[in-house]
Subunit: 136 residues, 2 copies
DNA sequence: ATTAATTTTGCAACAATTACAATAATGTAA
DNA sequence: TTACATTATTGTAATTGTTGCAAAATTAAT
């Protein structure tokens, strides 16, 4: 995606695109690596030497609030973030520690024993060993 | 479930049933409340005044290792535990904060874009507002 | 009864996150 | 432009959930 599109996307969701916000958002959509705050910070501090970890926290919180990112909770003590806000699942490999996207069809699942419940978020993830790590 | 059955169940899974372990396990299967360490500790300290929070952590870790309990990660910074080790999902109400069980049929989901992957754990949860809280 | 092995406990250390106030940057109106 | 108000960023301290570790207590074996 081009920078102008990114700026538009953020702006349309009520996120003023400061340099830090722009870079963090670009990082999320380009890397698609479901990073932690620490990963983002370490990967961006080179290009933005004054970046503060607090800013990363603040920015991600803002992204979540405005709906341009969402949280992925797979391990506790390891909050990850995803700029893909569509409903999809994840697979975390316990060897290489990578997090892969999984397409899921939630159509029927939603209507089991929770009729009358208001669903706001759907989360699905698997843990195991990825194809590559199995063959190593 | 009777205490003798509980003892057998723990023993068969390689967990020596000390008083602390027995009480914590009984708590899990009786309350079915998907508690945090803190909740367990606060609810049991009355009956076991010498109980240590470290013991709760140790015990739950042992339960997980031996397969008589599993971790539920819905919020980060809020690790919950479940003695129901079958594959099932959860719904967390953001008003009353209760966690409900959901039956799920994973049959098809497992075979989408992760062929060749070894699946060890399946996690599914929803967040929203429960029926009761909606009508209040 | 001694000794060895296991379990529990208390406290210190740690790491992720949040609170908060100071600084910097940006926007707005004379 | 200058002056002022608003917003964003930063650094540090505080908080919280968790783990490490060694001493004390309990249980098992000899
Ligand atoms: Mn994703
Ligand atoms: Mn459950
Ligand atoms: Zn892997
Ligand atoms: Zn509720």
């Amino acid at each position: 995606m081009e920078v102008n599109n990114i700026i538009d996307h953020l702006t349309q969701h009520g996120v003023k695109p400061s340099p830090q916000r722009l870079n963090i958002y670009k990082y999320l959509i380009e890397e698609k690596n479901h990073p932690t705050v620490d990963t983002i910070f370490k990967d961006l501090i080179g290009a933005m030497p004054t970046l503060s970890k607090t800013t990363v926290y603040n920015t991600l919180k803002l992204f979540i609030d405005k709906g341009v990112a969402k949280v992925i909770n797979i391990e506790n003590n390891e909050t990850r973030y995803d700029a893909d806000t569509s409903i999809h699942g994840h697979f975390k490999c316990e060897k290489c520690l990578k997090v892969f996207d999984i397409n899921i069809d939630m159509s029927e699942i939603k209507t089991l024993d929770i009729s009358g419940f208001l669903i706001k978020e759907t989360h699905f993830y698997l843990k195991g060993i990825c194809k590559k790590c199995r063959s190593d």
